[in-house]
Amino acid sequence: MSEKLLEVNHYSAEMKTDGGTLYILQDINFHVNEDECFGIIGESGCGKTMTSMAILRYGERLGLARSGGEILFQGENVESFGRKRLKEYNGKDTLIILQDPMQALDPLFTIEKQLLETVKARGGASKAEAREEIREVLKKLSISEEKLKCYPHELSGGMLQRIVGAMVILHKPKLIIADEPTTALDVSIQLQYLKLLKQIQKEYHTSIIFISHDIKVISMMCDRIAVMYGGRVVEQGTKEQLFSSPVHPYTRALFKSGNMGGIPQDRYETIEGNPPDLHEKSEGCPFADRCKHAREKCHKALPELQEFGDGHEALCWRPRI
């Protein structure tokens, strides 16, 4: 059994807004092992991105305040990090790949300057060494050196996301958080980029948290998967467990809508209704209002977590077994 790199233990967080408190994350519980790709899937607004922001300690900048639980990185509580340790944590231990590479790079600086800046933030290299390192990484990713003199607006989204990939390699992080890294890319280059990420993971023994709403991409990339709904993890397990026997009605609906998961069907299905309003702390199951199988109990009380095999668990009163 490999070591746990990251543990999110019963983590809850809220955000105060003019319209009242938003219960963004509730009792989030999962861990990421070393050398594994962990997937988080769910609709927009379910808390996927906020979870990653909390992990990276960026949540507080967005007004997200912890209300319970803890996040441990290699056994260290990330909230205990002082300024220096946090810089190291962001600059060395972790790196995020954002959804839109066009916006992630500063328009006023050349690619070279931004790569150099990344190496400098990581530390441990002189300017000449950094240049040499950058050249090697570009060669590895078969990006021509001419791109170094370009500004972000002169390059395509796919190329920019590969530049971000180069940053990942330069960074050598222990944990990559890939937040929908291919959503903004052309379908034709999505696959290529996913392969690149896999290659980086293998070669550098990095862990990845892969966030997506696309089941196909998640199934391709991830070893274990958490399904999020309404700020909660409603089901998690290995890829095999989830795809062969999803138990939560939401997971099943999600797989059906994406035409996945070995459930025979002749057409795509949609999930009726809207995601829950995060202004209210629901008494019952967050999915109850949209669930075909919901009974009175589902609306009244929050389900208890049930185990369905090694590490396969779901938050449901009426699991489909």
């Binding site: 954002l98 916006q103 992630a104 006023l108 800046e117 990344t118 933030a121 990581r122 500004y151 002169e154």
Partner: protein, 305 residues
């Protein structure tokens, strides 16, 4: 380089069009001869003066004479003082330029730290204080504040001269007041742009790459918000050169504002033409220079052109 040549060519064409408009507008404003002849002058005297000034010729011929003279550097003599207008203008212009440059420098020096601080401390009491003071700076009429300053520092405390440009300290009163008035809106502009930059994905990504906060703020957020401040400075500068009549009259500052006001009232055609044309050229040159600087700062503009 091609970009610069193109910009300069555009500038030349604009200056030509402006010269035509000024020429026609001045002549549409009324007959100057009435201001020059003594009361009860005969019709013949009036015709004589009109002929002397060349105002009896067809407009197109008048324009031809005007533009050839201008191209050889001759803007003519003032109708009223009879002195060459260029001489008068270049006597006054440095005062106005000095005032404008010092005022804008004061505004920029105040704006960069204060605007950035307000953006970084958004929605705290610091931010609210900055917003309050900035609105005040914008709202107080400058002639009122000017009289106030003269009363306190000039008349009561006797630290600053009451008016005029004779003492080197004379610049302090008008330039600080103008600088404060400008920094009000400039600070708000920088604050708002900086907030946008601080919320951008590239700032988020820079922070999440572990780049030091001071670098994120100075290199990424400030630089991306700065071009708006620069454009605004140019706009304000242009306005100050052309229209600082109020502050110049309050502080009895011998600049171009007073000169243009007096020559319009006196229908001093050569003076008005020269003042407006020189200011127009000045502004076109200024905006061209600013465009080039902006393109230098922002690679996207270079590409778009």
């Amino acid at each position: 380089m091609k970009y610069i040549v193109k910009k300069l060519l555009q500038a030349v064409i604009t200056i030509f069009i402006v010269s035509v408009i000024i020429f026609l507008a001045v002549r549409a404003s009324g007959d100057p001869v009435n201001n020059l002849i003594p009361d009860g002058a005969t019709k013949q005297q009036k015709e004589l003066i009109t002929e002397q000034l060349g105002l009896d010729k067809p407009l197109i011929v008048q324009y031809g004479i005007f533009i050839t003279d201008v191209l050889t550097g001759d803007f003519g003599n003032s109708y009223t003082s009879k002195r060459p207008v260029l001489e008068v203008i270049f006597e006054k212009l440095p005062y106005t330029l000095e005032l404008a440059v010092v005022a804008i420098l004061i505004a920029v020096v105040l704006t960069i730290p204060i605007g950035s601080l307000a953006a970084l401390k958004r929605n705290t009491w610091i931010d609210r204080l900055v917003i309050g003071i900035s609105s005040l700076e914008e709202a107080v009429p400058i002639f009122f504040a000017g009289i106030f300053v003269i009363q306190i520092f000039g008349v009561k405390l006797k630290i600053l001269p009451v008016s005029g440009a004779d003492s080197p300290l004379g610049i302090i009163g008008p330039s600080v007041l103008l600088g404060l008035a400008i920094s009000g809106s400039m600070t708000m502009l920088l604050r708002n742009n900086m907030i946008q930059a601080l919320e951008s994905e590239y700032v988020k990504f820079a922070r999440l790459r572990g780049i030091a906060e001071y670098k994120v703020v100075l290199k990424h957020a400030l630089r991306n918000s700065f071009s708006s401040v620069l454009s605004f400075s140019a706009f304000v500068f242009a306005n100050l050169i052309a229209g600082s009549v109020v502050i110049e009259s309050v502080f009895n500052w011998p600049g171009i504002g007073m000169l243009s006001y007096n020559s319009v009232i006196g229908r001093d055609f050569p003076m008005v033409q020269a003042v407006v044309l020189i200011l127009a050229v000045f502004m076109i040159v200024l905006s061209t220079v600013i465009d080039i600087i902006l393109a230098f700062l922002d690679p996207r503009i270079r590409k778009a052109e």
